[in-house]
């Protein structure tokens, strides 16, 4: 069996938000582009598992790429979300001080922010904080009006779908196993096909150190640092309107346990941060789970364990070892050892906010090496799946009249219709897992966690892709939901 080989101008390794953003930016030019993603869908690393915060830029040391690209990204984020039909809510953030000795840090953050070009930062006292957030405890806070929230998985998928529309080819379930360079071309071996590329871009996130090593380029080391979250029931959403963060502690792996409203109307508690040994260790731990509740209660006493509907975890790609903690700056550079190999290493927070500016920087790097011809067919616009529940009554009526599939509610908790689920199943990237359907339609994200809709979604998936019961998977290979039919007979009805 011979491997099929394909020659591309650019191959991007890693279909996370950075890889997909780069793919989209590059698709503005006439280039043959491929994205290789080892999982069964885009974004299954940290991109779909973070808080979804669009940072203003005051947390980052002035002069760093993190600071510059974050501020730039924040300014253009709303437009990006509009183009891609992704939710965006500028709800603002309070960094809350609980003790007097934290006030100094608030001032420092404000100054740092202003130096970085962040607008509107203001220190508020206890009274003003109480007025804005009656349930939050604190003696003072830094208010950032330009901090916003978005859907991290929604955006990753939207970037990918738009890139795909503009000609980028996505290869899912494609794990890179070896990389060679013959003169001017890279030869990239995966577990299925072989690829050739003139430029190779490393967006492999947690595994960016491995990809750099496979290419024979600079040695990096990624330290996995896990963050666990709790998702709260929508019934608790009235408790806060803004993002609420603690004053960050120097030398920790993260920004502290914060309380984040989501664009869907839930509240997230988290993330924790602990360095772990394995890059795929996404387990939640009881110790951290307790810590999340306790630390959140410091700010929001009204939170109760009863409100929890789910926990999840993501893993940060940290360059700083645990002994050091804190953050190193983004690595976004062409390798000095292997030409036309571009490394993106250690893209943790504010990677989401900075995704588009990061991508533009990479495009610029290629532009400096050769002239790029604009793609006249490029469209920046992408339409997502219309959310039935958010429509007006008149609109709902019209939708059902035009397509009765809108009248059939499949996910009872989130009010997701059959039409939306069919659209999620029939997605441009061909992702078939339940998690992929979940990210695209919001089904199974409600308080019953699929109790009503799971069985119905299984039937729709089977019908669309003609799958046997054991081929229905939760999230990629080896995650079958069912062992098969209950009785060995072939399905007749």
């Amino acid at each position: 069996m011979t491997e099929k080989s394909s020659l591309y101008d650019v191959v991007i390794i890693g279909g996370g938000i950075v890889g997909c953003a780069i793919a989209r930016e590059l698709s503005r030019y006439e280039l043959k582009i491929a994205v290789l993603e080892k999982e069964a869908d885009v974004g299954w690393g940290i991109s779909c598992r973070n808080s979804g915060v669009v940072h203003a830029g005051f947390n980052y040391t002035s002069g760093t790429l993190r600071a510059k690209l974050c501020v730039k990204g924040n300014k253009t984020f709303e437009k990006l979300c509009q183009e891609l039909d992704v939710p965006f809510k500028k709800i603002g953030k309070f960094v809350v001080a609980l003790k007097k000795d934290e006030l100094e840090e608030l001032k420092r953050l404000k100054e740092q922010g202003e130096k970085n070009g962040v607008e509107g930062l203001k220190i508020v006292d206890e009274k003003e904080l109480k007025k804005a957030e009656p349930h939050i405890r604190g003696i003072a806070a830094l208010y950032s009006p330009n901090t916003a929230i978005t859907s991290p998985y929604g955006l990753t998928i939207a970037l990918a779908e738009n890139a795909h529309k503009n000609g980028v080819r996505f290869f899912l379930n494609s794990e890179v196993t070896a990389i060679k360079k013959n003169h001017s071309e890279f030869e990239i071996h995966t577990n299925s096909k072989k690829f050739q590329a003139r430029y190779l871009i490393n967006c492999a996130g947690l595994y960016s150190d491995k990809i750099s090593r496979l290419t024979g380029a600079e040695k990096y080391r990624i330290y996995p640092c896990r963050g666990e979250y709790f998702v709260l029931d929508k019934n608790a959403s009235h408790l806060i309107d803004h993002l609420v963060y603690p004053v960050p502690k120097a030398g920790s792996g993260g920004l502290g346990v914060h309380i984040t409203p989501t664009v869907d109307g839930n509240i997230l508690l988290g993330p924790s941060n602990e360095y772990v040994k394995k890059k795929d260790n996404l387990a939640a731990t009881s110790k951290v789970m307790k810590k999340l509740i306790d630390e959140s209660r410091d700010f929001l006493p009204l939170i109760s364990g009863r409100d929890i509907i789910r926990s999840y975890a993501g893993i940060r790609s940290k360059q700083a070892p645990s002994s050091e903690g804190g953050y190193w700056d983004f690595v976004i550079e062409e390798s000095k050892i292997v030409s036309r190999f571009i490394n993106l290493v250690g893209i943790e927070s504010p990677g989401l906010t900075a995704a588009q500016p990061i991508a533009q920087k990479v495009v610029q790097m290629i532009h400096e090496k050769e002239s790029l011809k604009p793609n006249t067919n490029f469209t920046p616009f992408r339409k997502g799946i219309l959310c039935f529940e958010e429509q007006s009554e008149t609109m709902k009526k019209n939708l059902i009249r035009e397509d009765p599939d809108y009248g059939e509610i499949i996910c009872r908790c989130e009010k997701v219709t059959k039409k939306e689920i069919l659209q999620a199943i029939d997605n441009p990237l061909g992702a078939k897992d339940l998690v992929s359907i979940k990210y695209r339609s919001r089904a199974m994200m409600g308080r019953c966690q699929g109790g009503y809709c799971l069985t119905r979604i299984i039937e729709l998936l089977r019908e669309k892709y003609d799958l046997s019961p054991q081929e229905i998977t939760l999230k990629g290979n080896h995650s079958s939901l069912l062992t098969g039919y209950r009785s060995d007979e072939v399905e007749i009805s």
Partner: protein, 128 residues
């Protein structure tokens, strides 16, 4: 041998303590009526259970027909009958009480339908 049983004959759910050797009962304590004693005797000598399972339906509005054994059957046959249901199938429509399988294992074990099934093209009409 000493064993405890919870009697299932009536909601009293008497806790019965039985002393027995093999199939010979020495003493029953805790029964508030004779039905309980009868129950325990059966449990030791020849425990019977109603089998409950399902059978595939062809062209019905439900995929599976729930069935039960017409009478309680020896407990030891439950798993085997369960396995046998995998090979059974029935055509819609089906009435409650309809005999689906007769004399399984040559032990007079009949399975009867416990659900009403319509043919697939017969749908409930929306009323109102």
């Amino acid at each position: 041998m000493n064993r405890q049983f919870v009697c299932i004959i009536c909601p009293n759910s008497c806790q019965l303590k039985v002393e027995y050797t093999g199939k010979k009962i020495m003493e029953i304590k805790g029964a508030q009526c004779d039905k309980g004693k009868e129950f325990v005797k059966n449990e030791i000598t020849n425990p019977l259970r109603v089998f409950l399972g399902s059978v595939k339906v062809i062209r019905g509005d439900f995929r599976l027909l729930s069935v039960k054994s017409a009478t309680p059957i020896p407990k030891k046959y439950l798993k085997i009958i369960g396995k046998m249901t995998h090979a059974l199938k029935v055509d819609a429509p089906v009435e409650i009480g309809q005999v689906i399988a007769k004399n399984l294992l040559n032990e007079n074990i009949d399975l009867i339908a416990t659900r009403k099934i319509f043919r697939k093209d017969c749908i409930y009409r929306n009323k109102g």
